[in-house]
Subunit: 319 residues, 2 copies
C-alpha cells in the first residue's frame, strides 16, 4: 500500500506525517525547527525525520509515492521557488528541487495556510466541499481559497492572503508586512495578547491580573482559557476579535461566495465565545444572497491539517 509524506514546516516546529491514500495519518513526529542554524540544517533535519519515520513505521522508500510540504512562504509556483519565508529568514530557496534531489521522488510545495485548507477539504470540516475559504487564526492569520477543489493561487501565488486585508484604516497596529491595521494585527492570537496586555493595566484584581502578576506576561492560550471560564474582560477581547473577523468574512463572501468557511488555528479553540459574535457580525454585514447557503464552521484537524493537506498535494498528482 502506497503512502505519502506530509510535512508542515513552521517557524517553531517541523511536523511530519506518513499519510495513507485516504488521508489518514499512520505515523507522525515533530521536532523544533533549527531556525538559527539555517536552511541546510533544516533540510538535513527534514531528511533525518523522514528516515526515522519510515524506520519506525516499517515503510520502505519504494512505498512512498511522494512528499508534500507546507511552508509559511510566498511561493513562485512557476519556478518552484520559495521567494520569501518570513519566519525562517529565507529568500529564494529551491526547497522542492533540493528535496527531490535528496529523495528521488516527486515533492510538492505549498503555502502553509493553503496546505491547511487542503487538509480540511480532504478529510476535515470541508470534506466534499469544492468552493471553500479557510482561515487559520494563529500568531498571524493565513487564508486559503479553494475553487473547484483546487487552491487558487492568483497571479503570483498571493491569492487568499486574508490576513493582510486592511480592517482598520486609521490607528491600526503595525503589521509584519510593513503596513498597519491588517486583519492579523487586529484579530490574531498576537492581537488578542496585545489587547489583553492593554486591558490588564486597567484592572486591579481577578484571574487575568493574577496570571499577569504570576508570569509577567499573557498568552492567547491563557486569555482563551480564562474566557471559557467566564472571565468578562477575556470574553470581551475574544468577542472583539470575532466581530472583526465576521465583518471581514462578509467582504470575502461577497467576492468569493464560498459554500463553506472553515476557521482553524489556536484562536478557534475559543469556541462559541469567538464564533457567536463572529457569525452575528457576519450576518449583519454580508449580502444576504452571497451567504445564503454558506456555513461557518470550526476546523476539525487541529494542527494535523497542514500535514494532511501537504500529503494531498502528492495524492492528487497520483490520481
Amino acid at each position: 500500500m502506497k503512502a505519502y509524506l506530509g510535512i508542515d514546516l513552521g517557524g517553531t516546529s517541523i511536523k511530519m506525517g506518513l499519510v495513507d491514500q485516504q488521508g489518514n495519518i499512520l505515523h507522525n513526529m515533530e521536532n523544533p525547527t533549527p531556525v538559527k542554524e539555517g536552511y541546510h540544517a533544516v533540510l538535513k533535519l527534514i531528511d533525518q525525520m523522514a528516515q526515522s519515520l519510515l524506520r519506525q513505521s516499517g515503510y520502505a522508500w519504494r512505498n512512498i509515492s511522494g512528499a508534500g510540504i507546507g511552508v509559511p512562504a510566498f511561493i513562485d509556483f512557476q519556478k518552484g521557488i520559495l521567494v520569501e519565508v518570513v519566519n525562517l529568514g529565507w529568500h529564494n530557496v529551491s526547497l522542492q528541487a533540493d528535496l527531490e534531489r535528496l529523495w528521488h521522488m516527486p515533492v510538492m510545495v505549498e503555502n502553509d495556510a493553503n496546505a491547511a485548507a487542503l487538509g480540511e477539504m480532504w478529510t476535515g470540516a470541508g470534506k466534499g466541499v469544492s468552493q471553500l475559504l479557510c482561515l487559520t487564526l494563529g500568531t498571524g492569520i493565513g487564508g486559503g481559497v479553494i475553487i473547484n477543489g483546487e487552491i487558487y493561487h492568483g497571479a503570483n501565488g498571493t491569492a487568499g492572503e486574508a490576513g493582510h486585508i486592511t480592517v482598520k484604516p486609521q490607528g491600526g497596529r503595525v503589521c509584519n508586512c510593513g503596513r498597519t491595521g491588517c486583519l492579523e494585527t487586529e484579530a490574531s492570537a498576537t492581537a488578542i495578547v496585545v489587547d489583553a496586555l492593554e486591558r490588564v493595566r486597567e484592572i486591579s484584581a481577578g484571574p487575568l491580573q493574577e496570571e499577569f502578576q504570576r508570569t509577567g506576561t499573557l498568552t492567547a492560550r491563557t486569555v482563551i482559557q480564562l474566557a471559557r471560564q467566564g472571565e468578562p474582560v477575556c470574553r470581551e477581547i475574544i468577542a472583539k476579535a470575532g466581530t472583526i473577523l465576521g465583518n471581514s468574512l462578509a467582504v470575502m463572501c461577497c467576492l468569493l461566495n464560498p459554500e463553506m468557511i472553515v476557521i482553524g488555528g489556536g484562536v478557534s479553540q475559543a469556541g462559541t465565545i469567538l464564533f457567536d459574535p463572529l457569525i452575528k457580525a457576519f450576518n449583519s454585514a454580508v449580502l444576504p444572497r452571497a451567504a445564503e447557503n454558506v456555513s461557518i464552521v470550526p476546523a476539525k484537524l487541529g494542527n494535523q491539517a497542514g500535514m494532511i493537506g501537504a500529503a494531498w498535494l502528492v495524492h492528487r498528482q497520483a490520481q
Copy 2:
C-alpha cells in the same frame, strides 16, 4: 461565416449586436426596455430586434451559432433561472429556456457585470489576461471575477458582487440590497450625485451651482464633465470616490491576486481625476506582493462590453 447574437438587457435599454468569431460587432441596435409592460413584452421585443438585426445585416438564422445575454440578475446557473432581476422586477424567470424555445439554438445567460468582464477579456483592456477583476461603475457597481479565463460564479452565482462590500460600517447610505455603507452607495454614479447634491447647498456660485439652478438637479455625467473642466468641488467628489474604490480594490487584491483590474462604466470616464487618487489609495492599502504585477486600467469597450461578452459565452461553447 458563423456569428453570434450578443445581448445586453438592462433596466434602461436592450442592446443587441451581431458578433463575429473574433469578437467584432458587425451590426448592432438599441431599444428602450419596456420595463412596465413586463417579461413577455421584453421577450417579444428581443425577438423582434433579432429578426430585424439579421434582416439588416443580411445574415440568415442558420449562420447564427447561438445567443448570449447579460442580465442584471442573480442567476441560478444550475437551473438556468434568473432568480431575481432587481431593475426589471422579475423573479424566477426562465429566460434561457424561453429564448431557446423561440430561436431553436443555444442561448447562454450571464450576469451583466460578468458579461462586461468577459467582453473586456475577449477583445478589450484585458485581452490575453486570464486572472482578471473587472468593476463596472454605473448606477450601481458590478463586479466580475475571471479565474483561469472563466467567470467564477461561486456557490450560488454571487461571486464578484463587489458593489456590496461594506466600506462604511457606520453612517453609510442605505443600499438597494437593504444594508448600508456598501461600496455602491459610496462610490457609484448614484453616490456621486448624492455627494454633489449635498455639496451644492454649501456653495453660492460657480458652474455646479449654475447647473443645479438651471436644471433643478445634477447628474453624474455633469459632475464628471465639470470635474474635467477643473471645477474644484466636482474634482473632490470624484477623488473621494476614487479613494474609496482604491481601498476596496486593495482588499480584493489580497484575496484574488489578479493580473489586471479593469474599471469600466460611466464613472470611469472621469479619467485621471478618478484613477490618480484610486491608484494612490490602492498602493498605500495593498499588500505589496499581492499587487506586484497588477495593472489597474480603464475598460476599452465602453457600453459594448456587455454585448461582446455575451457573445463570448456562445463562442466559447463553440470552441
